[in-house]
Subunit: 419 residues, 2 copies
């Protein structure tokens, strides 16, 4: 029997633990004598036959991947359209898979990637090419359907809660003569999961920061917001605000509309933090500061949640096991059986059920006044940031992150312009 | 012999380890049976007779202070002017100290605080009030004179280096189809120490991020900057820029002039990161992202440097020992005797030598082209971010930071309006 081959690709925004899933995929495959190729820069590499032979990496490097943030093989924002519109691309994909005798295709990403993996599975069947497609969940936004939570989110959530807690101690110490209002902007286009995670910095009491959370699920009302800020400053002495980049006003317009669109057609956001800070300064005359951690929140492997890390490893391992068991067009998802003590397990869900559905925050997770999280939300979020999984550090004071050699596989096909 | 009393106050922007100095001050004083009062909100509390009795805190809380960021007793931005201009304030200060039989005054801050402590010492002598004044160094900006480095800086430097490293891995993974240029803004009004610390994320090779550092010490030239960005993107595929908030153009104007002034008369900055990102987007048409960690960089106790933490403890301990030994108007400073292996010790320096001098980066620390750090700079910075000193974490996944009771001391004097 010749060795079987698996193709692994990363898709969309990377996270602090997507490489942990990659590490588990490769280690599990190696244990089953399956060869793992990785697509360079995600699906683009698969289309361009730009493949990496992971068998050239020593096991020490593959193990170190589990504590290295970013996307070790490169990722991309490139969405395959419908089978009709992008037929040539899907066909090319099958050609590349066939040329390298790939039997298993593992696609590590979010909603869009689940959709692509499902479509690849369909077209392979149409062409009569024997292929098992398995999704591997990943997104800091936690907006993936079916799964209880999503690898990548827990670590970003922990980063957010710890950062809000620490910055709030700073603001509290200085508020008498300096900054009265601090605005912290989190990622999250349409779902307020990371904004909600900021709420874990406090114990839920009215005086504990953050005092105001602004969710994309709740229409922004400037007058109500400013009234709330004033009331908090009067009572507590300062006010910490966590705001989601996706905050919208009553007409559905993003509060910080930056204009551009990314390759998936999503609006490019950023700047709602400074925009709100300016509003507070202008309308209330209070000294303000704002922070926009941007990519830091999704790459802060140094502050990964142990729960998140364990789940990222678990979905990687399960994806390979499903593939080898012949379970096509599925994705390992996380199923929660208890909040406290937290219990979870991995199950397989059909890719079609995950694809293109977006999980927003349930109404019951947002406080009635729209400015905070409920006890139910806290029960849900708490275990996801629990536990520490720090990387090893070198003598230089930096985490020892691995850089793979990423040795290219010889091409067998003529070049292909992805356009 | 009645118990002696020491007054401790925190001043200016807080850091991840200023409370470690406070912890060492209180523990050392307790060991010598000296009672420690703390001024609430720094010198404002001292003037307003708003004092805290630290003897009401259990030793466990004082120990936990050593791993808690922020300023446990409150700090402030309020600078006493000259003895002539603010004579009433200085006089009031002596009255408060006398009313509470304070024999030792420890002021934990930066340049301005060293100046104030020196002046308090002078006026006490003038009034014939027996007082020992000792400064305790602190600032994330590392711009304090005489001392080789400054407690607070090493942890902010480590936060900066790790954050730039992690975000760069993210950018590298996505650059093919997403962000090409990432701009990371650091604190530092006049000195580029924190910007330089960003350079530790890379090994100094041309392809390793950060690819461009913009220092306040080097006049910003937009054309040269954009040429450099283009060249880096062409060669590496992406470009990571670290920029100091204090970046100025050839005429000395801050590149991101926000207009306001703080209580010390310093210009209020912020926004150079997004400003540069907009320039790159508009002039080069590249996709950009930017991060402004703001207070996060000076409060990230979870990522404290072990060197910095040890030095923060050491200056606190030494300050009390100097005071008890009757050494007036001095400040414990850090003296380096070797780079690698790193060796340092604490010595006393006259407050007058420290006060109001600002230590900018030596020319020899900035690369000839103005866009990076030299090997000499690296040798200087490296030991300051070495070692980890993580706080304990609770089951909730958050660091267990302490909140003191801060029990007020009964007032003995009539109220005083600080104005």
């Amino acid at each position: 029997m010749s060795a079987q081959t698996l193709l692994y690709a990363q898709s969309g925004g990377v996270t602090a633990v997507i490489n942990a899933s990659a590490s588990a995929v490769i280690q599990t495959a190696r244990a089953h004598k399956v060869k793992v190729l990785a697509a360079r820069n995600g699906i683009l590499g698969a289309l361009g036959e730009d493949l990496i032979d992971t068998s050239k990496e020593p096991i020490s490097a593959i193990r170190a991947l589990a504590h290295t943030p970013g996307g070790a093989f490169g990722s991309c924002r490139f969405k395959l359209k419908s089978l009709e519109a992008d037929r040539a691309h899907y066909q090319r994909l099958i050609e590349v898979l066939a040329a390298h005798k790939v039997r298993y295709f593992l696609y590590n990403g979010g909603n869009d990637s689940a959709d692509t993996a499902a479509k690849v599975s369909r077209i392979a069947k149409e062409f009569g090419y024997p292929l098992i497609c398995v999704g591997v969940p990943k997104t800091v936004d936690n907006d993936l359907a079916v799964t209880d939570c999503c690898p990548g989110f827990g670590s970003a959530a922990k980063y957010t809660a710890v950062s809000v807690l620490e910055a709030s101690l700073d603001v509290a110490a200085m508020a008498e003569t300096s900054t009265k209002v601090f605005v912290y902007e989190v990622m999250g286009r349409h779902a307020g999961w990371l904004a909600a995670a900021g709420g874990l910095a406090g114990d839920g009491s009215a005086s504990a920061p953050p005092h105001i959370i602004l969710f994309p699920e709740v229409a922004y009302d400037e007058a109500r917001f400013l009234t709330q800020v004033k009331a908090v400053v009067a009572k507590v002495g300062y006010c910490v605000v966590v705001v989601s980049e996706g905050l919208r006003d009553g007409s559905g317009r993003f509060v910080a509309e930056a204009g551009g669109k990314d390759a998936f057609g999503h609006s490019q956001l950023g700047g709602v933090g400074p925009a709100l800070a300016a509003t507070v300064k202008d309308k209330l005359g209070m000294k303000v500061h704002w922070a926009v951690p941007d990519y830091l929140q999704r790459s802060a492997r140094h502050l990964a949640s142990a729960t998140d890390h364990a789940q990222a490893l678990a979905v990687g391992k399960a994806a390979v096991e499903y593939a080898l068991a012949g379970r096509n067009a599925v994705m390992p998802v996380i199923v929660r059986s208890n909040d406290a003590p937290y219990r979870w397990k991995i199950e397989a869900a059909p890719l079609d059920k995950v694809a293109n559905h977006e999980k927003t925050m349930p109404k019951s997770f947002i406080r009635k006044d729209g400015f905070g999280i409920t006890a139910a939300c806290r029960r849900y979020l708490q275990p996801l940031i629990a536990g520490e999984a720090p990387p090893p550090y070198g003598k230089d004071g930096l985490p020892t992150y691995v850089r793979l050699k990423n040795v290219a596989v010889a091409k067998k096909l003529p070049p292909y312009a992805v356009k």
